[in-house]
């Protein structure tokens, strides 16, 4: 093709062609931005935390496995986050004990038992439930739930593991229900029809066919619920009380990793060791949720490939 023919083919002005190219590059950069942001998050948090790793007061083993957290002590500085980790997981575990059966149950009801109108209504309600800000949940825990707990259990303080667990359960329910419902919806209708044609009732079909077929998706739903509960900050900050120790019962106050950062970052002088340890706690949290989310994604992807 010679020069003249190429010119004839170009019916659009040059600026439009280059403009389009530039725009497409911009679009591609935005597409990659998510990767950049994830790395930037890790980089900037780790950069603030880094100096403390070489400090004589800091030992990695103590950081992970000691429950002695005395960051501001003058003579006996200790940075052990084990009690905080236990706090996080005790509240999360309680939340899951409550939320998983209810969440999966509701997902089954929405996907298998109810009519179209009711289904739409329930889904919208779940969406609104998911939209309630965490600080409002925290406020509910602090005012309503703590009053109820002191009344019914006779505990001296209402802000404790039980309170945080209930609040977190309510908060992670929507995600469990909606992902769980997606998982059930992904089971092909032929499975249902085959099972019903054999004379099974719906419940038998759900128990023997649907649940085994959708178990990976349901697992992913639970994992994402756990991720949400572990990362929640304001609600647990307000609802679990502020005691840095390993809890012995449901009515003990605890402090979680997230709440600890929120509560102490304001008081820690900039670039002090205490401040750097808090950032290191952030790195720890980032890694925990990273692992949970990646696992959930692999579980979901595993199902998609099988189909």
């Amino acid at each position: 093709m010679n020069q003249g023919e190429t010119k004839k083919l170009q019916s659009r002005p040059l600026w439009s062609i280059y403009g389009e190219k530039a725009l497409e590059i911009l679009i591609k950069v935005s597409g990659i931005s998510a990767i950049i942001f994830v790395f930037a998050i890790f980089f900037f948090i780790f950069r603030e935390a880094f100096p403390v790793l070489s400090s004589p007061n800091f030992h990695l083993k103590e950081f992970l496995f000691s429950s002695e957290w005395y960051p501001t002590s003058a003579v006996n500085v200790r940075y052990g986050t084990f009690a905080l980790t236990v706090g996080t997981f005790s509240v999360t575990a309680l939340a899951m004990v409550i939320a998983v059966p209810f969440g999966i149950g509701a997902a089954i009801f929405i996907s298998e038992f109810c009519g179209k109108r009711l289904k739409e209504t329930l889904k919208i309600t779940i969406e609104l439930l998911a939209a309630i800000p965490s600080v409002v949940w925290g406020f509910i825990g602090l005012t309503i739930m703590s009053k109820l707990i002191t009344q019914f259990t006779g505990a001296p303080v209402g802000v404790n593991v039980l309170n945080g667990g209930i609040i977190l359960a309510l908060m992670s329910l929507p995600i469990i229900v909606s992902i769980g419902e997606d998982a059930l919806k992904a089971v092909p209708d032929t499975y249902r029809e085959a099972s019903l044609a054999l004379g099974a009732t719906r419940w038998q079909m759900i128990r023997r066919v649907l649940l085994p077929a959708a178990k990976n998706g349901l697992l992913a739903a639970v994992l994402l619920g756990i991720g949400r509960a572990v990362g929640e900050t304001m609600a647990v900050l307000m609802a679990t009380g502020h005691a840095v120790h390993i809890p012995h019962g449901l009515l003990d106050s605890v402090r979680t990793l997230t709440a600890n950062i929120a509560a102490e970052l304001g008081e820690a002088p900039e670039r002090s060791e205490h401040y750097q340890v808090l950032f290191l706690t952030g790195v720890l949290l980032f890694c925990i949720t990273f692992v949970i989310n990646i696992t959930a994604d692999f579980v979901i992807r595993g199902i998609k490939r099988k189909q």
Partner: protein, 301 residues
């Protein structure tokens, strides 16, 4: 048991047990679903009842008085609007373009897979970790200081996945043959997106943007250390009380402060603040739901 044709259709004990189990299972699941909704209704109505003595237009427009124990929430309300608007201005273009890239340009290769993982992770990073990032990156490294800019940039990055996910979903719902028809008449990829794909998915994208607004209005942890303050003196009804390089109050932060830091608050004030915050967020979400329903009912394909 004799299997004569008549008896085949008679209920046996086995069938009755089967049906009973079915009814029990169904009602258990129904109760579980209801158990999810009842607390929501109870909580909301309790909040409204408690807040009732303070709720009025005056509460919204007035400034906090007597060490925040009385008065209204105007500075916090306007501060939230500042933060939401600025974070929206940053995250909406990036998020929509990222969604376009992922749905229209990206091939199914390793890069695309990594981007997907990154989006999922960005959505899963705890809000307090975003706060640490905002503090390290915007407040200190970029030297923006504790300011509205730092806080809104933090919010923008945090809510990016919301917009990316809903844009992708909206674009994916446009049928492939629309695009093919357009390519066949000689349009380029971008022309197709501009003239065919975007007009057909704008409602879905808008829904995502609205959800971003509701999410960023409610967040507290990311703005706590990057730009929100407990108290700032503001004139009553002043529409432009803040500068972008200064700090501001925010509704979510104000609720946290009232609930935990301020002694002797008159009881209905924090409840009323909670109701205003909850009401704003739910109203915004309801708008998104209504728009989505309207689009669905109007869909031509």
């Amino acid at each position: 048991m004799n299997d004569t044709p008549q008896n085949l259709f008679v209920e046996t004990a086995f069938v009755r047990r089967k049906k009973r189990q079915e009814t029990v299972a169904k009602s258990i699941f129904l109760v579980m679903s209801i158990a999810m909704i009842i607390p929501l209704l109870l909580i909301v109505s309790y909040l409204v009842v408690k807040a009732y003595p303070s709720l009025s237009l005056e509460f919204l427009l007035d400034v906090p008085r007597k060490g925040m124990t009385e008065g209204g929430i105007w500075p916090a309300f306007i501060g939230t609007i500042y933060l939401v608007a600025l974070s929206l201005a940053v995250s909406a273009p990036i998020g929509v373009m990222a969604g376009i890239y992922l749905n229209e340009y990206a091939k199914d290769n390793w890069l695309n897979r990594i981007i997907n993982l990154a989006v999922i992770n960005l959505a899963g990073v705890p809000s307090i970790v975003h706060a640490l990032f905002g503090l390290g990156a915007f407040v200190y490294a970029a030297k923006f200081g504790c300011s509205i800019i730092s806080a809104s940039l933090t919010l923008a990055i945090m809510t990016l996945p919301v917009i990316i996910a809903s844009t992708r979903e909206a674009l994916a719902s446009v049928p492939m043959n629309f695009r093919e028809a357009c390519w066949n008449v000689g349009a380029t990829r971008w022309q197709t997106i501009r003239r065919i794909v975007l007009p057909n998915s704008i409602g879905g994208i808008l829904t995502g943007v609205i959800l971003q607004v509701s999410r960023s209005a409610g967040e507290t942890a990311p703005i706590m250390f990057t730009g929100a303050v407990f108290y700032k003196a503001v004139e009553r009804g002043d529409l432009f009380p803040y500068t972008l390089d200064g700090q501001c109050m925010a509704l979510s932060m104000h609720l946290y402060t009232l609930a935990t830091q301020v002694p002797n608050v008159s009881e209905s004030v924090p409840f009323a603040t909670a109701v205003v915050l909850l009401g704003t967020v739910l109203l915004v979400n309801a708008t998104a739901i209504i728009i989505r329903t309207l689009i669905r009912s109007k869909k031509k394909w």
